[in-house]
């Protein structure tokens, strides 16, 4: 099957592996990720100001494109997923934002949140199925791995509707499917410090260390993540190997 795919800027620069292994694995699983035309930066951070419309427009453009090309938009980067999913929620439920965004864009047909935004992990779970992945694994990973969710995939919980924000399991289920031993540790949904690194280098350092320490104390040998920024912060400060989940998937499927 084919599915519209929104890669985002980071996946073209610092996080090329996240993107590359995702595409290779998807092909192996029978899914073709079709990069949408003329996508623009999602804005990276969801704007919370109630009157901020312009920075949401690029997400709406991508969503509208997907609406006319299969109705689903696949995302991979946690930050892009967060922004696009939340903007889609605005377009569905916030009349003020919907009206203004449509006035700006002057589309042939107004966009009102029709597209379904799905993250790559959700695609694996709901479209491919973890059982189907399990059958295609040729190199079981066989390591004790901690899933590091960070915040952007999970919160705000009601809008993202990704998993239980306090006790998520989707990455653990994924790890199980590729033959790894998932290590559940309490701080897997804590914030790594994110962009605060620009202002206060110390804070992400402390946070990343605390996360890694907690994962270690529960027996993890390495961490996986879906977020380039989490990977950056943990890699720089944590002192434990951390990789993108797609890399492990590609390895397990023998397409790395």
């Amino acid at each position: 099957m084919k599915i519209c795919y929104y890669p985002g800027c980071t996946l073209k620069t610092k996080a090329k592996e996240l993107d590359r292994y995702a595409r290779l694995s998807a092909e192996a699983l029978g899914v073709t990720m079709e990069e949408i035309e003329n996508w623009q930066c999602c804005g990276a951070v969801y704007p919370t100001a109630r009157d901020e419309i312009a920075t949401k427009l690029s997400a709406v453009r991508a969503l509208d494109y997907a609406k006319h090309n299969g109705g689903k938009l696949l995302t991979l980067c946690s930050a892009c997923h967060n922004v696009i999913k939340r903007v889609n929620d605005d377009m569905t439920n916030d009349e003020n934002i919907r009206t203004k965004a449509n006035n700006y864009l002057a589309l042939d047909e107004a966009y009102a949140g029709e597209t379904q935004v799905i993250h790559y992990l959700e695609m694996l779970r709901d479209i491919v199925g973890f059982d189907a992945i399990k059958e295609k694994v040729v190199n079981p990973i066989g390591k004790k791995i901690g899933a590091y969710y960070g915040c952007l995939l999970l919160r705000p919980g009601k809008v993202m509707a990704f998993d239980n924000p306090e006790n998520p399991t989707i990455i653990e289920d994924f790890l199980q499917a590729i033959g790894a031993t998932p290590v559940k540790y309490p701080m897997r949904n804590e914030c790594c410090g994110a962009y605060v690194a620009l202002k206060n280098e110390n804070l992400p350092k402390e946070r990343s260390k605390a996360i890694v320490k907690n994962a270690e104390s529960h027996g993890a040998e390495m961490l996986v993540t879906a977020c380039p920024l989490c990977l950056y912060n943990i890699q720089k400060n944590g002192g434990m190997p951390v990789v993108y989940f797609t890399e492990l998937l590609a390895e397990a499927l023998g397409v790395k």
Partner: protein, 663 residues
């Protein structure tokens, strides 16, 4: 033709500021049938009522319309005034110009128009009104109390004190409720059992009180003064009249792994057991889910050892039916389920406990004999962190939007007791706000802070997790504007309380209304706080809203006063606005009986003359006016239009609709 008088009330500025009351009174004079119309500042005042009375006498009014506040407020006042000068009280109609007009509209012109329409509507109805006479029904001089916690116990004792018999129906094997589980009570720190158990004993010894423990309400019929209640006495497999409470069975029972509900599952108990030492009745009960004899047929040890021969494995649920004049609901509360609160790690860590569990851990009769030990390894916790508002004041959807009201005080109590008994223990409390209004309450909390050096931290906790055996409590300290992590040995969650879930079934049986949080509604939040809107049903304790023991006891006594007032009457006046069936039109289809929530409609076979000397026997509906509550459900259901409601006939309602629609 009726002679109708119209009285438009200003309600001070409540109505007059938005409705041109003078214009309404003037214009309405031109309505056919209206012979008198006036406006006045406060129609409900002594002078206002006099104005009405004088007009009735002077103009010989046969019907009156008052344009004022909601009929729920003053209909009774105006009816009484009319009656005092010889006008039938059911010839009074109220047009609601306050709640339905002035309070909800801004534009005076529009509001005045609407007021005119509503007054005309009431006039249209009163034209068709007929004098009605109230009936009488006798009062059964016995009360039912549902729930045997402190609320039910207090209500029963007070009712019995006035000389009326009262039954307590308690679903558990003993009365005592939540209060029996508590260690100490705020703000005086006296032992909960020491002040509760004498009241339990009083109940048992009072010959006016009949305790039906291990029993539940099965069915309720009837109405105020005449309830008929079917009670299920659950099989306890022990004959209450024979068991002496010697507890030999408990020492012999081989099935010892049941969870002890009284100790919040922190301890195990035998299949046959007495819930706690001071249980009333002091009679054993067998848990059928756990008893080997009942489950597999093999065992029977308790029967062999019971000297009194009280054990009966063949016992079945039995039913009794009794009549009551009044019913008190006192079904109490439970702490909310914490499965939705993964952030506090309650399910994953034995040392994260609820406050009610802590009560048992501190109680001399609890699983640790009153020595504070943490459940995981039975060691003394050195650092204890309390988290308040767990599930209370929570609009996220996981918890409850309301304040549970008791948690600030009991957390201060726990903190103080721990610091007093174990001074080397560090105690932290996370709070959103500390809410301690009440006599000697804020002083109590201040003592925890100032005298016992309990560390109160303003802020919420985002996560509790286990790291190398320590519970890391991660929260924000809002006053210092920093995130903090407190490594703790024990974490106590001040868990929100909610009404005991069985209250939903009871509310349905009683047709008592319930709010979105399952609290029973009171008739008026300020002025009728212990009465349910369903006549003859009264509310005591947390089933009505969160409250502590002093408030619960006050409300229970207030309930008792209301019940005594009701039972002291020999007869009650009944509402004459009841349904009746036109037998000539009734086809006996049963639809009215199916919708009647009060069981007021039965069917009779009646002989009708067809003319030419022929007769036929037909089945027709018959309404018992003493049971009918005048809800009108049958009148709108009846396909042949045979059912009608006195005071609210279809003709009257249609004429009101016409008046509203007329331009």
């Amino acid at each position: 033709m009726q002679k109708i008088g119209v009285f438009i009330c200003w309600c001070g500025s409540n109505i007059a500021a938005t409705v041109d009351v003078v214009r309404v009174a003037e214009e309405i004079k031109r309505e056919p049938g209206v012979v008198y119309s006036a406006d006045y500042q406060y129609m409900c005042s002594e002078n206002g009522q006099q104005l009405i009375k004088n007009a009735i006498k002077e103009y010989g009014l046969t019907g009156i319309v008052i344009g004022s506040c909601s009929p729920r407020m003053h209909e009774a006042t105006f009816r009484k005034a009319a009656e005092s000068v010889g006008l039938n009280p059911y010839m009074v109609e109220v047009a609601n110009l306050r709640e339905q007009v002035s309070w909800i509209h801004k534009d005076k012109e529009e509001a005045t128009e609407k007021a005119l329409i509503l007054v005309r509507t009431a006039i249209a109805k009163v034209r068709l009104n007929a004098p009605l006479k109230e009936g009488e029904s006798p009062v059964v001089k016995r009360a039912l109390v549902i729930g045997g916690g402190i609320a039910g116990i207090q209500a029963a004792l007070d009712i019995a004190e006035a000389g009326y018999p009262v039954d307590i129906v308690e679903k558990n094997a003993t009365i005592g409720g939540r209060m029996a589980q508590l260690d100490k009570t705020f703000p005086t720190l006296d032992c909960s059992a020491c002040i509760l158990t004498p009241k339990m004993v009083d109940c048992a010894q009072n010959e006016k009180i009949d305790i039906l423990s291990y029993s539940e309400i099965e069915e309720v019929k009837g109405y105020v003064g005449n309830f008929s209640v079917k009670i299920r006495k659950k099989a306890r497999y022990v004959d209450e009249t024979k068991c002496t409470g010697c507890k030999i069975c408990m020492t012999k029972c081989p099935s010892k792994k049941g969870l002890d509900e009284f100790n919040m599952n922190l301890k195990t108990r035998t299949a046959i057991h007495i819930p706690f030492a001071q249980a009333i009745p002091n009679v054993a009960v067998i848990d059928p889910e756990q008893c080997l004899k009942l489950k597999t047929g093999k065992c029977g040890i308790c029967q062999k050892f019971c000297g009194a021969g009280a054990i009966d494995y063949t016992m079945k649920d039995s039913f009794i039916e009794r009549q009551y004049g009044a019913i008190v609901v006192a079904t109490g509360f439970k702490p909310i389920d914490l499965t939705a609160f993964n952030e506090y790690g309650y399910a994953d860590n034995k040392d994260v406990v609820t406050s009610l569990e802590l009560e048992r851990l501190m109680n001399a009769a609890g699983p640790t004999n009153g020595v504070l030990l943490r459940p995981s390894d039975m060691t003394h916790p050195k650092v204890i962190t309390f988290i308040q508002c767990v599930g209370s004041r929570d609009v996220s959807g996981c918890g409850k939007p309301y304040c549970s009201k008791i948690c600030c005080m009991y957390t201060a109590k726990h903190a103080m007791l721990i610091r007093e008994k174990y001074p080397d223990t560090e105690v932290h409390v996370f709070y959103i706000d500390v809410r301690t209004p009440g006599k000697n309450y804020d002083e109590f909390y201040r003592r925890a802070v100032e005298q016992y050096n309990v560390d109160y931290i303003k802020g919420m906790v985002g996560k509790v997790y286990n790291e190398n055996g320590k519970l890391m409590v991660q929260g924000s300290d809002l006053l210092n504007n920093e995130q903090i992590v407190i490594p703790s040995d024990l974490v106590v969650l001040a868990t929100a309380i909610e009404p005991e879930p069985s209250v939903r079934k009871i509310a349905t049986l009683l047709t008592a209304s319930i709010d979105t949080n399952n609290f029973l509604n009171e008739s008026h939040p300020k002025l009728r706080p212990v009465e349910s809107p369903t006549a003859g049903v009264y509310l005591a304790g947390v089933c009505q809203g969160p409250k502590d023991i002093p408030e619960t006891v006050s409300q229970a006594s207030a309930c008792a006063a209301k019940v005594i007032g009701l039972l002291a009457k020999d007869k009650l006046k009944t509402n004459p606005c009841v349904a009746s069936s036109n037998e000539m039109m009734c086809n006996g289809c049963s639809q009215c009986a199916n919708v009647c929530a009060y069981g007021a409609i039965t069917y009779v076979d009646k002989e009708f003359r067809l003319g030419g000397g022929k007769t036929e026997i037909r089945r027709v509906a018959s309404v018992n006016p003493a049971v009918c509550q005048g809800c009108g459900a049958c009148t709108v259901t009846c396909p042949s239009g045979a059912m009608d409601l006195s005071g609210f006939s279809s003709k009257q309602i249609m004429s009101e609709v016409e008046a509203i629609c007329k331009k």
